[in-house]
């Protein structure tokens, strides 16, 4: 009997002492964590996509709370959550959410198998980054989409996928959150994050070819040759600039007049999500890029259905 009693007493004492030690330690060495971090974390989408530039949603929450000390959330944006989530975050922190334009990924390449023949076949590991290391890849264009689908693997939302027919990555705008994972992965930097635009409308130069005109013409049927015609048509708004043999449209300045789309002799400029126009658009732009014109007609319908 006494043996049991001794055991109970000893164990009880050990337990008591440990409890006291643990209690003291927990008070003494307590790490203060701002409760708001947890609150902010709860409203975030928990996709852990890393699009914000922080390690996952908890990292972003901590960054938001830290930024709230300086009184501004302007540098922070949760792309998948969008404006709605940022407003909730701002409310928790007692701030105003800055209006960040929602973005989508745009694949700046139209070099389908027809436009840009695959002259050789790559037999190695199926990865864009590996194919890119070997040099030109399967086509003659050093800048175009390799079509091995690294972006597809990087996307957590199933929003980008390589079309097996055209062998070009295509973005499903209804799913794209603009986190930028695909743009970071693409070894050729073809994917650009652009503001979604009103009703998803935007005008983009769908080419990344920086070669001189003569070479670019040989490489692909729908390449930008840096002729500058679009720059001239856009003199009024100055939205288009010419880099190294490559035009770029500034989304902030673009007034969506679509004149550049018509002016481009190569059909390299594409208008997204515009309602199909009467005869005029079917003029010069249509024959060069029949497919891209057809595709976006479907997407707005989807978006409306969701809304």
């Amino acid at each position: 009997m006494s043996v049991i009693l001794i055991a109970v007493i000893v164990l009880g004492l050990v337990g008591l002492i440990s409890a006291v030690v643990l209690f003291v330690a927990s008070k003494k060495f307590a790490v203060y964590e701002d409760p708001r971090i947890k609150q902010v974390g709860e409203v975030l989408p928990q996709a852990n996509c890393g699009g914000c530039g922080y390690p996952g949603c908890s990292g972003f929450a901590a960054a938001c709370v830290k930024a709230s000390e300086s009184g501004s959330l302007s540098d922070l944006n949760c792309a998948p959550g969008g404006q709605k989530v940022m407003e909730q975050v701002a409310a928790i922190l007692g701030l105003q959410a800055s209006a960040a334009a929602p973005k989508v990924a745009v694949v700046r390449c139209q070099g389908t198998c027809d436009a840009r023949p695959h002259g050789v076949e790559f037999d190695g590991a199926h990865s864009c980054r590996i194919q890119n290391m070997t040099g030109m890849g399967e086509t003659q264009c050093l800048y175009g989409c390799l079509g091995e689908g690294d972006c597809e693997h990087a996307c957590l939302f199933g929003a980008i996928r390589v079309n097996p027919v055209t062998r070009i990555a295509e973005v499903d705008e209804s799913k794209c959150t603009g986190c930028g994972a695909c743009a970071k992965t693409c070894p050729r930097g073809i994917i650009e994050l652009r503001p979604q635009g009103p009703k998803g409308r935007k005008v983009v130069v769908l080419c990344n070819n920086k070669d001189k005109g003569a070479l670019a013409t040989k490489e692909c049927k729908v390449s930008c040759i840096g002729c500058g015609k679009c720059v001239k048509t856009c003199e009024k708004f100055e939205a288009i600039t010419l880099g190294t043999n490559l035009a770029h449209i500034d989304p902030d300045k673009c007034k969506m007049c679509l004149k550049c789309v018509e002016a481009c002799p190569r059909g390299a400029i594409k208008a997204f999500n515009f309602p199909p126009r009467k005869p005029r658009t079917e003029g010069p732009a249509a024959p060069a890029a029949p497919k891209p014109v057809a595709a976006p007609q479907v997407e707005p319908v989807k978006k409306e259905a969701e809304a």
Partner: protein, 452 residues
């Protein structure tokens, strides 16, 4: 019989052109000289459209210390200075020359008489290195590292011996073999020059046992040179790798990067480089031509050609009986480390040791299957790495893990992918990891330097 300690594989030798004497290739109609014929900074073009050039005229000067000048191998007119597809399968700066006649610069000695080292007592180490630098000589085995850099050891390092790489462990290639058979005397003088340049008394020539005729000949010729020892080696790939050769010949192991062969007292040069050094120093001839093996099972006449740099590969193939109908792949270099070419109009460069034409069946990779953990790649790796692990880490983008497992030690010999029964693209993945990790290390070093 000597060989290196760890790993190695035995691919089928297929030395089809071993008995074919070197013959001179015809001059091309247009020669294209890439400014990227070496590792390091690209050469800077010094000619412009319309300039008349002769054989041996400078086209591009070295763009830095680790760089090499490029000389014209033909005479004619510069038609343009523009980008051209080169053996790296990308478009890079190059000089196009339309060939007219065959006029040489007067300074070049075109006679074939042997000039011995004793005939030129005026030569000292500095002059030799300067000559090598001026001649634009790079490692002729295929890695194309500028030779003068290797001959100028960093301060505090002392070379003890020169090792000449005449292993030619790549299957199919016979360029070095034939060069030894036909230019043995010149090569030995070249070795003496290299030894003098780095100030050592001992030279070794490592030759694999599958070239018995070359070993016998070199041993006979080397009797007159007591400082040069011919070392027959057991046949095993990749014995021609610098670190493997040092291990095989003098039994020393080079530590992991950033250590280089000079840290164990060895300077390794290819046998083709030794010949080029002889020509540059004794004959004042810059690097304008080299031996290239054009071979393949379906090639009508596998040959060793003495071809001018800048000659398009298409022409070399035509000289050997034309492109076979069943061609599946054309590789610049050997089958193990060479690179598949995307066009036959790519011009020959300083590092073009071979042109291998594989037929459709050979050219295909096997179907990739899951790793069965047989560890064949581990036993094959000559650097003692774990290719299956590095490949997995790389595919998962776990770069720090790859760095910890010494991915930068990989010499990209391809033994792992060759031996894999599941045909896994091990080397592709490791190469991706290696490039990325090296980039990370470089950025980190730059950041640390900035902090200080």
């Amino acid at each position: 019989m000597k060989t290196f300690r760890i790993g190695g594989v035995h691919p089928a030798e297929n030395k089809l052109s071993a008995a074919a004497p070197i013959r001179e290739a015809a001059l091309p109609k247009q020669a294209v000289f890439s400014m990227f014929q070496h590792i390091g900074a690209p050469a800077v073009p010094v000619v412009k459209k319309g300039d008349k050039v002769k054989v041996g005229t400078l086209l591009g000067e070295a763009g830095g210390f680790v760089s090499a000048p490029v000389y014209s191998s033909v005479s004619g007119t510069v038609s343009k200075v523009d980008v051209a597809l080169d053996a790296s399968d990308t478009r890079r700066m190059a000089v196009y020359v339309d060939v007219e006649g065959d006029e040489w610069e007067e300074s070049i000695d075109r006679s074939t008489d042997l000039v011995k080292l004793s005939d030129r007592p005026d030569l000292d180490a500095k002059t030799i290195v300067e000559k090598v630098k001026q001649a634009g000589i790079v490692g002729m085995g295929g890695a194309t590292f500028p030779t003068h850099v290797k001959l100028s050891p960093p301060p505090g390092q002392k070379a003890e011996c020169v090792i000449i790489n005449a292993v030619e462990c790549e299957p199919y290639l016979t360029a070095d073999h034939r060069l030894m058979m036909e230019k043995a005397d010149e090569i030995l003088v070249g070795i003496q020059l290299l030894m003098k340049a780095v100030g050592v008394e001992k030279g070794y020539v490592g030759i694999e046992m599958n070239k018995p005729d070359a070993i016998t000949l070199m041993q006979k010729k080397a009797e007159k040179y007591p400082n040069i020892e011919i070392v027959p080696l057991k046949v095993k790939y990749p014995q021609g790798g610098e670190k493997q050769l040092i291990d095989a010949v003098i039994g020393r192991q080079v530590p992991a990067p950033p250590a280089i062969p000079i840290n164990v007292g060895a300077v390794v040069q290819n046998v083709g480089t030794a010949f080029a050094v002889y020509e540059a120093v004794m004959k004042n001839k810059p690097l304008i031509a080299r031996v290239i093996t054009v071979t393949g099972k379906s090639v009508k006449q596998p040959s060793n050609l003495w071809a001018r740099l800048g000659t398009p590969f298409r022409q070399l193939i035509d000289e050997c009986g034309g492109l076979p109908e069943d061609t599946g792949k054309v590789i610049g270099g050997g089958p193990m480390m060479g690179k598949a070419l995307i066009s036959l109009d790519i011009p020959m460069t300083k590092g073009s040791s071979g042109l291998l034409i594989m037929n459709g069946q050979e050219a295909r990779r096997g179907e990739t299957r899951p790793c069965i953990r047989c560890a064949k790649c581990v036993s094959a790796c000559p650097m003692g790495l774990e290719p299956f692990l590095l490949s997995a880490l790389s595919s998962q983008h776990m770069w720090d893990g790859a760095e910890k497992n010494n991915i930068t030690s990989c010499i990209e010999c391809g033994s792992c992918a060759f031996t894999c029964p599941s045909h896994r693209p091990l080397l592709d993945m490791i190469r991706l990891g290696k490039t990325t990790v090296m980039g990370i290390i470089k950025t980190r070093a730059a950041e640390n330097a900035a902090k200080k």
